[in-house]
């Protein structure tokens, strides 16, 4: 298939605007180029099969002597724990929640993609692969994405066998729907609760292994440090959140499946507890962080209602299939009852700007245009700060066309959710929506085996960076989490574990003692600063900075300003933080303080990464890099690389390692949805 392309009407790559400045000069140190040491070669369709065969096996009797720690129990972590447990390894699973079933994968609504081609509508592994690379704006790794598309079909088989109640047709076979602007129906779903059902499947499989004795679960435990001995990951330091006890857990390999860091923006659709601590602690110990600024902003969330807001709620973007998005043409209409605004005074801006895709343009475009409308002063809903941050999503045409009952059948649960949160009836008044941070494509750098730059440390699911490039397609997060957990990691980690069992290390080893001491010292510091502000208040302030300067639209000037502001905030945090309570009991303020401290450091790196990447690609829009029509403009000759950042020390600058992205199976094109 090498060199082949699909005909989809994309315009050829625009390389006229090539530029060579380095906006982040002075903020980082240039490091050696990076290559994936285990990147496969050969025809793309054979790479994974070949690699699975080449990877060494572990004798069943040796498996029980090998300890694997898995941090996180979402789709990627839960599925991996179950699978490695079934294989006979000795697994220790950690989560901060009170049960593995509560990991935030549970909140995913829409569905999961798989190249089953049950609809016989032209889908294939290659097409799913192609769509994912193109959707990611050519900033993901070809081999990894092909593998993802390839194992997608096994995931559906596995989940059905576990009893995941997917939607079915009258004949009892599985139903599919089209999702996220693709032209084939490859999305499997369980009403609007697909993530919940998939997670419960993985959770139940994992609990079965707990009963079998292969998996030990540590709930209400938070990983606070990675143990690295002679450059190799050998365990973690975790805090028992109920008793406050700082515990040492040693292992032959460590897997981080700890999810994404969207909460760096304070307001996001992530759960309140989602955090970057596990991956950030690993980063500080030597794991590279890749493309940290690649953030996905989801266009259909319920807008902020006031300063008290603690989180944002997503509504499935399937709403865009039938709802029409508009704002008033005139700013003076913005506080009117929308039903009183005449048709001629409404601007259906997506239909106007993108006549062929209309309301179904990809997430990044829909989000950015909503922001543009609000910035022009044509937003609707309550004033938040100086602007109204909302646009209408109107179902009145759909209700007229299909009848209220049909709309209720299709979207009833979403309408109910909207009404519960806003107190407004969307059957009568248009909904208000606004973009919100939803997912991060960035994460710890991993090779084809999902191993980080620290040997023995593997990273799966949203916590790694590898598969979605600069933008993730709808219904692909669940696919990646389960692909990594059930099928990829178990087949790659065995090649590493085949060298084991490794020399045992003990709790009095210098590396262990040092890691433990640093955790205890940090906890003591949080409790003894005794300033005046809560960790939560710092988190809110950081979120404002990130949303304003490193959100939907980024500029050189804004990012420089943000870096200065974050550095100030960090100083203030470490001198004026106030955490009450004690270290030896359940202390949610203390937990929060540790997470916010890490978010602050991450926020700075995200801004540096965004500053370095002077191009617009996927969810990353740089104002300095756009077409005459205001659309995103990529610069492949300069930026077709993964930016992998090495920690530069407490007061040092991060070191940038570039991994070139090379496409052999498909050709890079500039996206166009006009």
């Amino acid at each position: 298939m090498a060199g082949s392309t699909l005909h989809d009407g994309s315009t050829p790559l625009n390389d006229a605007a090539r530029q060579t400045s380095d906006d982040a000069h002075g903020y980082y140190i240039a490091g050696e180029p990076l290559v994936d040491p285990v990147a496969p070669t050969g025809p793309i369709a054979d790479r994974w099969t070949t690699r699975r065969f080449e990877n060494r096996l572990v004798n069943p009797s040796n498996r029980r002597k090998l300890d694997v720690i898995i941090v996180g129990t979402g789709l990627a972590g839960g599925a991996a724990a179950a699978t490695l447990g079934e294989a006979g390894y000795n697994v220790k699973s950690f989560c901060y929640q009170d049960s593995p079933r509560r990991a935030h994968s549970i909140a995913a609504q829409g569905g999961i993609n798989a190249a089953k081609n049950y609809k016989e509508d032209g889908d294939s592994v290659f097409r799913l692969f192609y769509d994912t690379v193109k959707g990611g704006d050519y900033r993901s790794r070809e081999s990894n994405v092909y593998r993802l598309a390839e194992v997608s079909t096994n995931i559906i088989d596995q989940c059905v066998a576990q009893g995941v109640p997917f939607a079915r047709e009258y004949g009892g076979l599985l139903d599919n729907r089209s999702f996220g602007g693709v032209q084939v129906s490859r999305t499997f779903y369980a009403r609007g609760q697909t993530g919940q059902q998939l997670l419960l499947g993985a959770y139940q499989a994992m609990e079965r292994q707990v009963a079998a004795g292969t998996v030990t679960q540590y709930t209400r435990h938070e990983m606070l440090e990675l143990i690295v001995k002679d450059g190799v990951a050998r365990g973690i330091i975790a805090r028992n959140l109920m008793t406050g006890e700082v515990e040492t857990h040693l292992a032959d390999a460590v897997v981080l499946a700890s999810g994404g860091y969207g909460n760096v923006f304070f307001l996001s659709t992530n759960a309140m507890g989602c955090n970057v601590t596990a991956t950030w602690r690993a980063h500080r110990k030597g794991a590279y962080m890749a493309n940290p600024s690649f953030t996905q902003i989801h266009p259909t969330c319920i807008p902020v209602s006031g300063e008290h807001q603690s989180k944002l709620t997503l509504m499935s973007e399937s709403l865009r299939n039938d709802g029409r998005i508009w704002v008033p043409k005139k700013a003076e209409d913005c506080d009117k009852d929308p039903r009183d605004i005449a048709e001629a005074d409404r601007d259906y801006y997506l239909e106007r700007i993108y006549p062929s895709f209309g309301n179904l343009v990809p997430r990044d475009i829909a989000s950015r245009q909503a922001k543009n409308m609000c910035d022009e002063g044509r937003g609707v809903g309550p004033m938040v700060g100086d602007f109204r941050r909302g646009v209408y999503l109107d179902f009145s045409d759909a209700i007229e066309r299909m009848g209220e009952d049909t709309v209720r059948e299709k979207y009833g649960n979403l309408f109910d959710m909207y009404e519960r949160i806003t107190g407004e009836n969307p059957y009568q008044v248009p909904m208000r929506i606004y973009p919100a941070v939803h997912y991060v494509m960035g994460g710890l750098w991993v090779d084809y085996h999902l191993q980080s730059s620290i040997p023995g440390l593997f990273v799966t699911g949203e916590a790694n960076f590898s598969d979605h490039g600069a933008n993730r397609l709808g219904a692909s997060a669940l696919m990646q989490g389960l692909a990594d957990g059930y099928f990829v990691l178990p087949n790659t980690i065995r090649d590493y574990l085949a060298d084991g069992p490794f020399t045992k290390i003990t709790e009095d080893d210098e590396a262990v003692v040092e890691a433990r001491r640093s955790v205890e010292k940090r906890i003591d510091t949080f409790l003894s600063i005794n300033g005046s502000r809560s960790a939560d208040s710092y988190h809110r302030e950081l979120g404002h900075i990130m949303w304003e300067f490193c959100g939907m639209e980024r500029s050189e000037e804004g990012l420089r300003k943000a870096i200065d502001m974050i550095r100030e905030l960090k100083k203030d945090f470490w001198t004026d933080l106030k955490v009450l309570g004690t270290a030896d009991s359940l202390n949610q303020s203390l937990e929060k303080a540790g997470r916010v401290a890490d978010f602050i450091e991450l926020g700075e790196l995200m801004c540096i990464d965004a500053l370095n990447r002077r191009e617009s690609c996927g969810g990353h829009f740089r104002v300095e890099s756009q077409t005459d029509e205001g659309e995103a403009l990529r610069h492949d000759e300069e930026f077709a690389y993964v930016a992998a950042w090495e920690f530069g020390g407490e007061d040092g600058s991060p070191v940038l390692h570039k991994e070139d992205l090379i496409y052999t199976a498909i050709e890079m094109k500039q996206r166009s949805y006009k």
Partner: protein, 247 residues
Amino acid sequence: MNLTLKIWRQENPSAKGGIKTYQVDDVDEDMSFLEMLDSLNEQLNTAGEEPVAFDHDCREGICGSCSLMINGQAHGPEVTTTCQLHMRSFSDGDTITIEPWRSDAFPVIKDLVTDRSAFDRIIQAGGYISANTGSAPEANSVPAPRDKATRAFNVATCIGCGACVAACPNGSASLFMGAKITHLGELPQGQPERDSRVVSMVAQHDHEGFGGCTNIGECTAACPKEIPLDVISQLNKDLRTAIKHGY
């Protein structure tokens, strides 16, 4: 609106707890119940009193973490989770009593936080279908009748919050358990382990100290996901069948 809150405070599992009274002012009706508690906590932190501990995570009604008895009702006055309850359900001047889940099988860890790990152990006892990764047949090789698959889905929406237990005068977890037994029992893949599943889950349930079901129905009334009471009938039916089969 201004509110008086009477909140259960308990330092640790063995401490004796008690109700403390707090005043919160300027509560916005668009706030969620938990955001109202956030603002109380910010107020307490400033005043030098340790914030109130409560479980919460997704704040969109799906993870099942939040778990408050509000004026004696599990999750409060609406049919939803605590996190999806909004302050417009209350009025200026109200006094609101907030307690942790009430059940011996859910011991208090601190303030409003309880230990619900008994639910995990009930699932460990048999709340799954044994299908090792990689062993699955082609997904469409076993059709599942749509009505049965729909019923399976409807009861599989249980979020494991424990409101059913907290609401039940007997502290029974029959609704939680019945939902899982019905979900897996309605699917063709769930048949091979159907008998053993119900027997072991019920044994674990009783071992954990949950009470028996006497068909009062408080559980289903409190359930934020509206799991119907007939899952308990299904549970009993499956148990009878299993016993008939010699389990």
